[in-house]
C-alpha cells in the first residue's frame, strides 16, 4: 500500500476546488430550499465532498457516471455545469432536462453524467451496460456507479457486481458509506463491511477513508487504471459521514449527536484546505480567490435559473417517445 499513487500539487488543488464547489453549492442549496425560493426534495451531500472529487480527477469527460438522488457532489465533480443544474432544479425550461427531470434525475451526457436515479440500487445495472458498451467498442472509457451503504443490501447490487465481475467490465462500484440509509444505521442492516462483499464476486475491493483525499485518490486511481487496462471492476467502499438528515427537512433526531459533532468537526473540506496551505501547495489568498469565484458562479447560475421560464404543458407530450404524442 506504500507505493500508492499520490496526487501532484496541481491535482491536489483541483481536488480541493471540486470539494469547495460542492460544499458551497450545498450550502447555497440548503439556503435556497430553506427560504422557500425553490421547492424540491434536496438530499445534501455535505460531508461527502472528498469521494467524487478525488475520484473524478482520475476520470475524463467522456468517462461515464451513474449517480443517485444524493448526487450533486458526484455531478459537480464530474463537471456538470452549474447553470444547467440550477435551472433544472428550479424546474425551468433552460434546465439540463428542461425541468422535467428535477434534482433526482439530473443528466448531462456531455460530461458523462448519464443517469441519476431515485431508485436505490439502480445506478449499478445501468452502469454495467455503459461499461459493456465501452468494452465492445474498446474505447477505454470507464464507468463509475455511485451508491450508498444502504444500497448494498438490495438485489440490484448483487446482480450487477456479479455480472460485472464475470464479464470483466470496466466499471467501478463506488459505495459512499455515510453510515446512514435514511433513518437506519448501516450496522443494523448488514453484518459485514460493504467492501467485504467484493470477494463474493471475485472482484477487487477495498474499504478506504473516503474523507481522506490522498487515500481516496489512490484507491480511485488504481480502480480506474484496472478498468482501463481490462482488469475488470472494483468495489470501493469509501467511508464518510452524512452531515445532515436524509432529505432536507429531516430533523435527524435519530443521529447520535456526539458522533455527528465529531464528524462535522473533522469537516474534510476545511481539513484539506488547511493541509494545502500547511503543505505549501496553495495559499490562503489563492484558495479564497478560488472560493470567491465559485460563489460568483453559483450566484450567476441561480440568477440565470430564476430568470428562465417554466416549460409549457406541451412538454407533457414530448420526450415520452422520439415522436411527440398527438
Amino acid at each position: 500500500m506504500s507505493n500508492r499513487a499520490v496526487p501532484d500539487a496541481a491535482t491536489q488543488v483541483e481536488i480541493y476546488r471540486r470539494m469547495a464547489l460542492i460544499k458551497a453549492n450545498d450550502e447555497r442549496s440548503r439556503k435556497v430550499v430553506m427560504s422557500g425560493r425553490l421547492v424540491m426534495p434536496y438530499y445534501s451531500p455535505r460531508g461527502q465532498e472528498v469521494i467524487p472529487s478525488a475520484m473524478s480527477v482520475n476520470l475524463n469527460d467522456d468517462d461515464y457516471l451513474c449517480t443517485i438522488y444524493r448526487g450533486t457532489h458526484d455531478m459537480l465533480a464530474k463537471g456538470f455545469p452549474l447553470k444547467d443544474l440550477w435551472a433544472e432544479i428550479a424546474g425551468r425550461v433552460d434546465g439540463t432536462c428542461k425541468g422535467k427531470g428535477g434534482p433526482m434525475h439530473l443528466t448531462y451526457p456531455e460530461k458523462g453524467v448519464m443517469v441519476t436515479t431515485g431508485i436505490v440500487g439502480s445506478s449499478m445495472p445501468i452502469a454495467n451496460g455503459l461499461a459493456w458498451g465501452s468494452q465492445m467498442r474498446g474505447d477505454g472509457r470507464v464507468t463509475v456507479a455511485t451508491f450508498g451503504d444502504g444500497a448494498s443490501n438490495i438485489g440490484a447490487f448483487h446482480e450487477s457486481l456479479n455480472l460485472a465481475a464475470v464479464w470483466k467490465l470496466p466499471v467501478i462500484f463506488l459505495c459512499q458509506n455515510n453510515e446512514w440509509g435514511e433513518h437506519t444505521a448501516y450496522h443494523k442492516t448488514s453484518n459485514v463491511r460493504v467492501a467485504d462483499r467484493a470477494a463474493a464476486y471475485g472482484m477487487a475491493g477495498e474499504r478506504v477513508d473516503g474523507n481522506d483525499p490522498f487515500a481516496m485518490y489512490a484507491a480511485a486511481n488504481e480502480a480506474v487504471a484496472r478498468a482501463r487496462a481490462g482488469g475488470g471492476p472494483t468495489l470501493i467502499e469509501a467511508m464518510t459521514y452524512r452531515f445532515h438528515g436524509h432529505v432536507f427537512g429531516d430533523q435527524d433526531a435519530y443521529m447520535d449527536k456526539a458522533r455527528k459533532a465529531e464528524a462535522m468537526e473533522n469537516d474534510p473540506v476545511s481539513r484539506f484546505r488547511a493541509r494545502l496551505i500547511a503543505d505549501g501547495i496553495s495559499t490562503e489568498e489563492q484558495l479564497a480567490a478560488m472560493e470567491a469565484a465559485t460563489e460568483k458562479e453559483i450566484d450567476e447560475a441561480i440568477e440565470c435559473a430564476l430568470a428562465s421560464a417554466f416549460p409549457g404543458v406541451e412538454e407533457l407530450k414530448r420526450d415520452v417517445f422520439a415522436e411527440e404524442l398527438a
Binding site: 431515485g118 438490495i154 440509509g181 437506519t184 407533457l316 407530450k317
Partner: protein, 334 residues
C-alpha cells in the same frame, strides 16, 4: 394521536388514522406484526412517522426495521403470514413495488390458488404515492391498475382518515393479500376522526354526494379535487353524485351501476395515467351493463400519458384538477 383521543369527535389526519388502526389491531391480535424500512422507533417510525410509537409499545420483534430489500420484506411478510401472522409490510413508495413485483404478484397473490387453498397469505402491503411533492418521475406513480389486473390481491385507496382507519382494520382482518395505497400529499390533512374499532368494508364504495345529473367516480386524492368540483357544479345548476370507490379491486359494481343508472352519465377520475387505467375497466363495464341507457359517453380523466414531471407547473398539469372536472362535467351535461 393516541387511540384514546380517537374516540372523541375530534379531527385526525390520515397519517394518524393509519397509525391508530395498526396500533389497535396490534393491541387486539398479537399476530399482527409490522416490517419495512425505518418503521421502528429508533428510526422514527418511518420517514413520515406513520408507524411511530409502535415498536416502543409492542416491542422490537413485532415491529422491525429492515434493510433496503423490498423482495426480502415482502417475502418475509408472506412466509410469516402463511403460519398465522398478520404482517403489515411497508413499501415506502409505490414505485418501489417494482422491485418486489415477483413476490407480490407471483407469490402473495397466487399461493392460495396454486396450493388449492392449503395456504393463504393474509398480508397488508402499505405503500404511499402521489404527485404534489415535486418528486418527479420515479416517486409519484399510481400503479393500482397493475394490481387490479392481478387475480388474488385486493387494492384499497382511501381518501379520508375514517376510511383509512376502517379500511386498514378490514385489510388486517382480511384472509388475503391487500395492497393499501396511501396518498402522501394528503397525509396531514385533518378531517373527522375515526372511531376506534370501526371497520370500512372492503369492496364497498361511499356516496359522498348525491346527485342526479352525472356520477363522478374517484378515489384517493382525486376525491379532494372532485369534492370542490361538485360544489362548483351545483353553483352552475348541475347536480353531481360523487362516489368514492375506496376499494379499487374488487370495486363496487353495484353501487356504481346503481348511481349511473340513475344519473345516466359517468366520469371516472384518477391520478394514474389514463390509458389502460382503472377508468377503462369501469367505463367498459358501465357501457356493457347500461348499454343504450347512458345519456353521454363515459368520460375518463387521468394523469397525462407521460412519466410524472418535476417542474411544478407540469406536475400540476399532469394530474386531473377541479377545474378540469368541472369543465368536462359541464360538457357532458350541457
Amino acid at each position: 394521536m393516541s387511540t384514546e383521543t380517537m374516540t372523541k369527535p375530534a379531527k385526525a389526519t390520515t397519517l394518524q388514522a393509519i397509525n391508530a388502526a395498526i396500533a389497535d389491531a396490534m393491541e387486539e391480535d398479537e399476530n399482527v406484526v409490522v416490517l419495512g424500512e425505518d418503521v421502528a422507533d429508533p428510526e422514527e417510525g418511518g420517514v413520515c412517522g406513520v408507524t411511530k410509537g409502535l415498536s416502543s409499545r409492542f416491542g422490537d420483534q413485532r415491529v422491525r426495521s429492515t434493510p433496503i430489500s423490498e423482495q426480502a420484506i415482502i417475502g418475509a411478510a408472506i412466509g410469516a403470514s402463511m403460519i398465522g401472522f398478520k404482517p403489515v409490510a411497508e413499501i415506502m413508495l409505490m414505485n418501489f413495488t417494482t422491485v418486489a413485483m415477483d413476490m407480490i404478484v407471483n407469490h402473495a397473490a397466487k399461493l392460495r390458488f396454486m396450493s388449492g387453498g392449503q395456504t393463504h397469505v393474509p398480508i397488508v402491503i402499505r405503500t404511499m404515492t402521489g404527485t404534489g411533492f415535486s418528486s418527479g418521475g420515479q416517486h409519484s406513480d399510481y400503479l393500482e391498475a397493475w394490481f387490479a389486473h392481478t387475480a388474488g390481491i385486493k387494492v384499497l385507496a382511501p381518501s379520508s382518515p375514517q376510511d383509512a382507519y376502517g379500511l386498514m382494520r378490514s385489510a388486517i382482518d382480511d384472509p388475503d393479500p391487500v395492497l393499501f395505497i396511501e396518498n402522501g400529499p394528503t397525509y396531514w390533512t385533518p378531517a373527522a376522526a375515526p372511531e376506534k374499532g370501526q371497520r370500512v368494508p372492503i369492496g364497498k364504495a361511499n356516496v359522498l354526494a348525491e346527485g342526479t345529473d352525472l356520477t363522478i367516480i374517484a378515489y384517493s386524492r382525486m376525491i379532494h379535487e372532485a369534492t370542490p368540483a361538485v360544489a362548483k357544479l351545483a353553483e352552475a345548476g348541475i347536480s353531481a353524485e360523487l362516489i368514492d370507490l375506496r376499494t379499487v379491486a374488487p370495486w363496487d359494481r353495484e353501487a356504481v351501476l346503481a348511481s349511473v343508472a340513475k344519473t345516466g352519465r359517468a366520469m371516472i377520475v384518477h391520478e394514474a395515467v389514463t390509458p389502460f387505467g382503472v377508468g377503462a375497466e369501469i367505463a367498459a363495464v358501465l357501457n356493457e351493463e347500461l348499454f343504450g341507457k347512458l345519456k353521454a359517453p363515459v368520460r375518463r380523466l387521468g394523469g397525462a400519458f407521460c412519466p410524472v414531471p418535476f417542474s411544478k407547473p407540469l406536475e400540476t398539469a399532469f394530474a386531473p384538477q377541479t377545474a378540469e372536472i368541472v369543465e368536462v362535467a359541464k360538457g357532458m351535461v350541457g
